[in-house]
């Protein structure tokens, strides 16, 4: 325990300078800005800004991107409250009670609750992250390649199957990502695979154009397709004065509970902030003395939604930092950021780069504090962000995406890759194919292959069944695939029974 706090102090030493705080502040502001604009998700905001971090040191790059992640998670709630349009998918639940509160003339309350619940939910998740990740990373250091292979497979299957009702499609896209990852030189033997004579494919696809394409261009192309020049956002002229700090005290248990729920849900790869907020909202509704108020402007509903989706940020970082398996699509982008800076995600990160890891933890505390201040004093400004004209926003995002993919190597090939994946992302979004599994497949493919080949070389196929942990992890993977099948059948049986029973 003492060691953790000692290391955290070292982390604060890393970020305790003007430059780092400034970058965190920029990250938080950009994140809130991105989150508050409907159509820009946290993963899109982080992916768009990723090319700008090339020239930075890995620590500064990571803490800025982390600031964006944290800021964007809160930013989504601003438009959810102000115009009943969630800026991010995870803020959908915030709108359930946030907007009714605004309609009752309590807009300041709603904004204040969402802000401080986000801040404290985030802080709770950092504590959980610290206490979970250090022992987990130590345990992971002892993993055999077969166990690592099984762990990655488990991560991918849970990502695919926890993603929602389109889990079959998610599984296909995940495997497609893994297959695309085999393009380029084979990591063990250096044999060219599926390069089609294109030398730029020797290293496989460059991650940044792929990420920008899937998360940013795909989204913008989809928005452009459905763009209606006549549609105008109705402005609500309300007072956003926030209540005094003592007001929030009565919501303390809701925030703590939901922060913990969000964090624990966030740990599971694939179950991001959206699932966390729905679950925490449900838990809070069940525990409330006035469940009938939920959906009609219950302050606890806003607190639960926001604390849990911010809590999921810390949770998503646990598997990413300790095992190299991202817990959410934004964590996958952060994982790519680590790789771009030649850092190997996984348990070695704690021993090889302790300053970066604990600096990142400390930066999360700083980011949450800054978010509280920026959100409190700039509420009126952030609300206006939601009204930015789409005619300005979409061309700029497009230009930024193109610039980002071009600036890496000044290569037309990367721009074409970005556009190709943008079109894939657009079609995937249109036909309900989740894009994050394909990214996870691309990110984890090499790691999986290396561990597979190592196991085969050292022990042969028997290595996959002799280690108990490997077997357990494989069983969990099978259960992750079996779970949605069983639950779907159960739902159908229930629905059929309800139909048959007399009214």
């Amino acid at each position: 325990m003492g060691e953790i706090f000692q290391n955290l102090a070292m982390g604060f030493g890393v970020v305790g300078n003007f430059q780092s705080v400034l970058w965190i502040l920029i990250g938080v502001c950009v994140g809130i800005l991105g989150g508050a604009i409907p159509g820009i998700s946290p993963s899109m905001a982080v992916a768009l800004l990723l090319p700008m971090t090339y020239a930075m040191s890995p620590t500064v790059a990571l803490i800025m991107l982390m600031g964006i992640y944290i800021g964007a998670n809160y930013g989504g709630s601003i438009t959810a409250v102000a115009i009943n349009t969630p800026g991010t998918p995870s803020a959908t639940v915030t709108a359930f009670d946030g907007y009714p509160l605004l309609k009752k003339g309590r807009a300041g309350e709603a904004m204040g609750i969402s802000l401080w619940a986000s801040v404290f939910g985030g802080v709770i998740s950092i504590f959980v992250l610290m206490f979970f990740s250090v022992p987990l990373s130590r345990a992971a250091l002892k993993f055999w390649p077969s166990e690592y292979f099984a762990l990655c497979i488990m991560g991918l299957t849970t990502v695919a199957t926890l993603g929602g009702k389109n889990w079959q499609k998610a599984l296909v896209t995940c495997l497609f990502g893994l297959l695309l990852n085999t393009m380029g030189l084979d990591p063990t033997f250096g044999i060219k695979r599926f390069t089609f004579g294109v030398t730029k494919l020797f290293d496989g696809f460059e991650m940044v154009p792929v990420l920008i394409g899937l998360f940013a261009l795909g989204e913008v192309l989809s928005n452009l397709e459905h763009y209606d020049p006549k549609a105008a956002v109705k402005r609500e002229d309300v007072d956003y004065k926030m209540p005094k700090f003592s007001y929030y005290w009565k919501l303390k248990w809701s925030i703590v509970r939901s922060g913990l729920v969000g964090c624990l849900i966030g740990i599971f790869p694939g179950a991001g902030g959206t699932i966390a907020s729905f679950l925490a909202y449900d838990v809070e509704k069940r525990m409330s003395r006035h469940p009938e108020e939920f959906g009609h402007g219950a302050p606890a509903g806003v607190a639960a939604a926001e604390a849990s989706n911010s809590g999921s940020v810390g949770g998503a970082m646990v598997p990413m930092l300790t095992l190299g398996i991202p817990g959410s699509s934004t964590a996958a982008v952060l994982l790519s950021a680590l790789m771009i800076h030649n850092l190997t995600p996984g348990p070695q990160l704690f021993t090889n780069e302790p300053q970066l890891v604990y600096g990142l933890f400390a930066s999360m505390f700083v980011a949450n504090v800054l978010m509280g201040l920026v959100g409190h004093f700039g509420a009126k400004v952030w609300v206006r962000v939601g009204y930015i004209k789409k005619t300005i926003l979409y061309p700029l995002i497009f230009a930024f995406a193109i610039l980002g993919s071009f600036s890496i190597k000044k290569s037309m090939f990367d721009v074409c890759t970005c556009l190709a994946f943008g079109i894939i992302g657009w079609l995937f979004k249109k036909y309900d194919y989740p894009a994050s599994p394909i990214v996870l497949g691309l990110v984890l493919g090499k790691l999986i292959e290396e561990n597979f080949v190592q196991t085969m070389m050292v022990t042969g196929p028997i290595g996959f069944v002799t280690r108990p942990l490997t077997v357990i992890l494989f069983l969990i993977s099978i259960a992750a695939i079996a779970y949605p099948i069983i639950s779907e059948r159960r739902h159908k049986k229930k629905a059929a029974a309800a139909k048959d029973s007399p009214a």
Binding site: F189, R193, K389, Y394, P395, L396, F398, M457
Partner: protein, 191 residues
């Protein structure tokens, strides 16, 4: 299979992309002709596209070189693509079944897809112009063109948006991140 693999490997990638496109068009007409698949043809085509690429990769594995050491270890460069291809087939079957279920949502219709695609193509043209017009001018033209296409009529915004964008990118990329963006052969002598 090895002969087919070697032949495919010798082809220019343009032919392979073209071949896949032709097959996709064929599948489109096939799905359109069957009443059960017609409402979900686009969803099916997404999986078919991924499956065709999987099949291509699987065939291509036969022409991959395998060293003695790799063959002895049991894990060759062919192993992983084949493993993923096998699992992909299983997952695709699940996806096809899910898509063809009666309670599955039919395909969403296309809205202004030509416009979205034109913006995408416009961005390629804009990047192609980088070497002549330079980054700043071509991106400014691109931004203004998209804004006008989206129905923006405010002249001040049409002028200010690309100007602010160019100033922002110049300072952030050129001055701050030391990433020089192309000025273009047209303006090379001026800088």
């Amino acid at each position: 299979m090895t002969a087919l693999s070697t032949w495919l490997n010798s082809l220019h990638y343009g032919y392979i992309v073209g071949g896949i496109a032709v097959l996709m068009v064929g599948f489109y007409f096939l799905f359109n002709a069957i009443p059960r698949t017609k409402p979900v043809k686009a969803q099916l085509l997404c999986v078919v596209g991924m499956d065709l690429i999987t099949l291509l990769f699987y065939i291509l594995t036969f022409s991959l070189r395998v060293s003695k050491m790799a063959a002895q270890s049991g894990a060759t460069p062919r192993t992983m693509p084949r493993l993923w291809a096998f699992l992909m087939v299983l997952a695709s079957v699940g996806a096809y079944v899910a898509i063809l279920k009666k309670d599955n949502r039919p395909d969403r219709g296309f809205d202004r897809w030509v416009f979205a695609l034109m913006v995408g193509l416009g961005s390629i043209v804009s990047v192609l112009c980088f070497q002549w017009l330079g980054y700043y001018l071509s991106s400014a033209i691109f931004i203004v063109a998209v804004m006008i296409a989206m129905g923006e009529k405010n002249k001040l915004q049409l002028i200010l948006t690309p100007v602010i964008w160019c100033v922002f990118t110049y300072f952030v990329f050129n001055k701050f991140l030391y990433i020089t963006l192309p000025v273009g052969s047209l303006f090379k002598g001026m800088f």
